[in-house]
């Protein structure tokens, strides 16, 4: 198999896995889910690091890479923190009221 074929297999399988996983998420948590998947897709930071940190990167690609790292790190940091902040608020009815 060529590397492209493998890549397409990987994509196909993870897309279906994604469908199955998300379908099971309760609508209660759709907002935190969206901010979590957002933080996860900030994995683009990997590509951004590779481009910015390259040995003889041109000014253009270093600038573009730099902005990309800033944008994705913003997403990683705010995405995870805010998901946790939201999830902390979801409480069951406390024992004192039962």
């Amino acid at each position: 198999m060529t590397s492209y074929e493998i890549a397409i297999w990987v994509f196909m399988l993870s897309a279906f896995l994604g469908f199955e996983l998300i379908r099971r998420v309760s609508p209660l948590l759709h907002t935190p889910l969206m901010s979590l998947t957002n933080a996860i897709s900030a994995i683009a930071v990997v590509g951004a690091i590779l481009i910015t940190g390259e040995k003889d990167a041109s000014t253009l690609s270093r600038t573009l890479g730099f902005i990309a790292v800033v944008a994705s790190v913003t997403n990683v940091v705010s995405g995870y923190l805010i998901t946790d902040r939201m999830l902390k608020m979801f409480k069951k009815r406390g024992p004192e009221k039962k």
Partner: protein
């Protein structure tokens, strides 16, 4: 030796992301999901920083610092009502990152064939999602008009720009050497993103936000194809399918198709329907409302975007406590498209400390309305409009709604008789059993609480 670690780190990261999403299926395990997601991200970043291609660290470190400096305040200072805006903003950031990486990759290596195809897809989705998300952000923040903006031949123009971008993109795939085409391609993608959101109204935002989420993920996945990085493909595909499913759920909850949301320009058709607003309605004072609530055994509260605007969720929680203490069964009925993004109402009510086992989905609570003494509608409109069930030619015809009209008494807190976002008259308001409570939601609920407490004191 150390080279062998990276693939392992990436595989572990991918597994962590999958677990993170899996654990989101219940509020009990969800926070664990966030932690494993953070670990996955850490593994991926460390694994990348250690790679031998990465030699120049100073710019990366500065960027890390900047990104953290922007991200931390956003996460902590932002009020919960601004969650839809923040989500739109982060879609914009993510899409921008992947579009810029695609651009850099083009000028660096000028890939051919399959890789170039993926690169074109990555930058197209990236740039259009970037501007579209910024537009959505503007509309949610209300710096841009929230009403849909339409003009003659709009769909023609939009499709024309998209077709042009697609043709230029295909030409680039055929011969990437035509470098002058790339800036044109970029501009066309950016413009299409703007045009896509111009005709979208506030009520359609949940679908659009979910769709943009999907595009941003797919763009990251396409980047994985360009850089031949499986971790990017997996993470992007998870995000892409997540956004897509949410968009499908939103569309189903409105009984509309994707194309109808994107090209339908809701809100322009119903101008004719507005005339009938002169009909009489019954209104009530906080005192009367409190009396009815006090006498009820079962109350179902239906929140909508108006509750978020009025910041009424904390007052609502107070009322919830007062009523619950008297043994009245208070539940919340949440329509899937209530608010401006999927799950918006749940987050706001959770913020106000309302236990999540009191929040019910539409399908779980609709059969209970006939047994409810009071349905209290706060800032919701179209999601309780019986026209969706009864009128064939209504723009919301066929949309599943919360059956508030079946409750013994319906109370609607509303600022005035102005029609809601969709601009459709609501039959519910003219029913014999409906009481309109005119006023600001927060203030009105506040006075109801006062009356309830006064009633206790005088007993």
């Amino acid at each position: 030796m150390i080279e062998n670690i990276f693939p392992a780190l990436y595989i572990l990261a991918a597994a962590s992301f999958i677990l993170a999403i899996k654990w989101m299926n219940s509020p009990v395990t969800a926070r664990r999901g966030v932690i494993i997601g953070e670990i996955g991200m850490l593994l991926a970043v460390v694994g990348t920083l250690l790679r031998h291609e990465v030699v120049n660290y100073e710019w990366i470190l500065i960027a890390f610092f900047l990104g953290t400096a922007i991200g931390v305040p956003i996460a902590y200072i932002m009020p919960m009502t601004a969650v839809p805006q923040r989500t739109a903003f982060s879609h914009a950031c993510g899409a921008l990152a992947s579009a810029l990486i695609g651009t850099a990759e083009y000028y660096r290596h000028m890939p051919h064939g399959f890789s170039m195809g993926a690169l074109v897809l990555e930058t197209l989705l990236g740039f259009l999602t970037f501007t579209a998300s910024l537009m959505a952000f503007g509309k949610l923040q209300e710096t841009l008009p929230t009403r849909p903006i339409t003009f003659k031949g709009q769909n023609f123009v939009n499709l024309g720009v998209f077709a042009a971008a697609a043709i230029v993109g295909i030409l680039l795939v055929i011969s990437p050497e035509r470098m002058w085409l790339f800036p044109i391609f970029t501009v066309l993608s950016l413009v299409f993103g703007v045009l896509l959101i111009v005709p979208i109204g506030g009520a359609d935002m949940p679908t659009v936000i979910a769709l943009l989420n999907s595009y941003a993920g797919l763009s990251a996945s396409a980047m994985g194809f360009v850089l031949n990085n499986k971790l990017l493909i997996v993470a992007g595909a998870l995000d892409g399918s997540s956004g897509f499913i949410l968009a499908v759920i939103m569309c189903r909850a409105m009984n509309r198709s994707f194309s109808n949301v994107l090209f339908g320009a809701f809100g322009t058709i119903q101008v004719a329907a507005k005339q009938s607003s002169e009909r009489p309605v019954r209104s009530a004072s906080p005192e009367e409302a409190a009396e009815i609530l006090d006498a009820a055994r079962s109350v179902i509260i239906i929140p909508g975007y108006g509750m978020a605007v009025a910041q009424a969720q904390h007052k609502l929680r107070e009322m919830f406590d007062v009523l619950s203490k008297r043994g009245i069964d208070v539940r919340f009925a949440i329509h899937p498209v209530a608010g401006r993004m999927p799950g918006h109402m749940n987050v706001l009510l959770a913020e106000a400390d309302i236990p999540y086992d009191r929040l019910f989905e539409m399908d779980d609570i609709n059969s209970d309305f006939p047994r409810a003494d009071v349905a209290l509608v706060i800032g919701a409109n179209d999601v309780v409009n019986p026209a969706a069930l009864n009128e064939k030619n209504s723009p919301i015809s066929g949309m599943p709604i919360l059956h508030a009209y079946e409750a013994r008494t319906v109370m609607v807190v509303k600022r005035s008789m102005n029609p809601g976002f969709a601009g459709i008259d609501n039959e519910l308001y003219y029913l014999e059993k409906t009481l309109m409570l005119f006023g600001d939601a927060k203030a009105f609920v506040g006075s109801i609480i006062k009356e309830l407490n006064a009633a206790v004191a005088s007993r």
